[in-house]
Symmetry: C2
């Protein structure tokens, strides 16, 4: 099967992928951590973060499948927190993922600031200054036979959808109301359309898979 | 089990329960019909509308369970189309549900206009002018041992959730992008919270069940 690009993100019931007023102390916005509560207890997640133990439930297969197909990641600068925008010059901004980032795969960060690649543990971050499509192309090459995961945030995924470059959209719908923040379904270009390809109910989350169609 | 009140509604991926620019020719707003495409082919739905044939799929059980537990309906004036607001004096406004409405149960319409009850086929519409809670109380009495279904629109359901009067929220999440219209998750009062109680994947829709918690 040809290489695919998929965009994976957790969303609140009211359609937000981050809460309001995001800053360094609240990187996911007020209340945004709750979007990811479903994943923290999972053994499959803890393992990637170097932790032992944890649960196995209906989310496990979804997570393992997503991780298993991934050969490289693309993410936005805020998700990498490379010290731009409101966080320029903040010394905490580079410590985001720690010395052992959980990716264990090449990561391509879309940014406006040129920078040398940075290797932390098993993860090498490369900084791409010529846009999402270039990052996707570089990640596609790095991924080899595997797929490219767009790991967020919203803007990078939206640009990729608008450019017709997303084959699968995997939404982890959390039973959370945020009341404000960053919406997923906007800036998607003209007349975006989606086909539902899968849905999996799991404790505290529903995993929804869509295929953008043009 | 004590009587429950549940709110059932179809929602788009981007969180709308009706498209933009609703009027008599486009009662669900531009594109809004697509929210309900999952239900039209179902035998269980066609039967309620006096039509023969149709499909059985994973949505059938969800629909039959919802209809089976329902002893009475509460709905807003626009869903009933009782001739208010922008539709005042429009002679088409009363013809909405035809001579054989699909409810076959008492329906309580929340409206500002007093009006005598109207019986069409097996369905009697009663018009309640003193608010959602009064309509819910009257429907509760009419439903007997069964439950009360809030059938929409958004405003009536939102008021009921804000008042702590909804036990179950059943969302039919359609793989549709509307880009505007009437949002479900707003006007819900302070700090609304939800627990996910069930989720069922079906062709062209995912059925999501939540319990509002206070």
């Amino acid at each position: 099967m040809a290489q695919q690009t998929f965009f994976e993100i957790s969303m609140s019931l009211d359609g937000y992928v981050a809460g309001p007023n995001a800053d360094l102390d609240n990187p996911l916005g007020v209340g945004g951590e709750a979007l990811h509560e479903w994943v923290f207890p999972l053994e499959a997640w803890r393992k990637e973060h170097g932790e032992k133990g944890g649960e196995t439930n209906a989310s496990t297969l979804v997570l393992e499948e997503a991780l298993g197909r991934t050969g490289a990641h693309v993410m936005g600068r805020r998700m990498y927190s490379s010290g731009e925008g409101p966080w320029v010059d903040d010394p905490k901004a580079d410590g985001w993922w720690g010395d052992e980032p959980p990716f264990h795969k090449p990561v391509f960060v879309v940014t406006h600031h040129e920078r040398e690649p940075l290797t932390l543990g098993e993860t090498t971050f490369s900084f791409v200054t010529d846009g999402v499509e270039s990052a996707l192309a570089q990640a596609g090459e790095a991924a080899g036979e595997k797929d490219v995961m767009i790991s967020g945030g919203a803007a990078v995924g939206q640009q990729a959808i608008a450019a017709g470059r997303v084959d699968d959209l995997l939404i982890h719908l959390a039973p959370v109301y945020l009341g404000g923040g960053v919406r997923l379904f906007e800036n998607l270009g003209d007349d975006p359309r989606f086909e539902q390809t899968d849905a999996v109910a799991a404790p505290g989350v529903t995993h929804l898979m869509y295929r953008p169609v043009r």
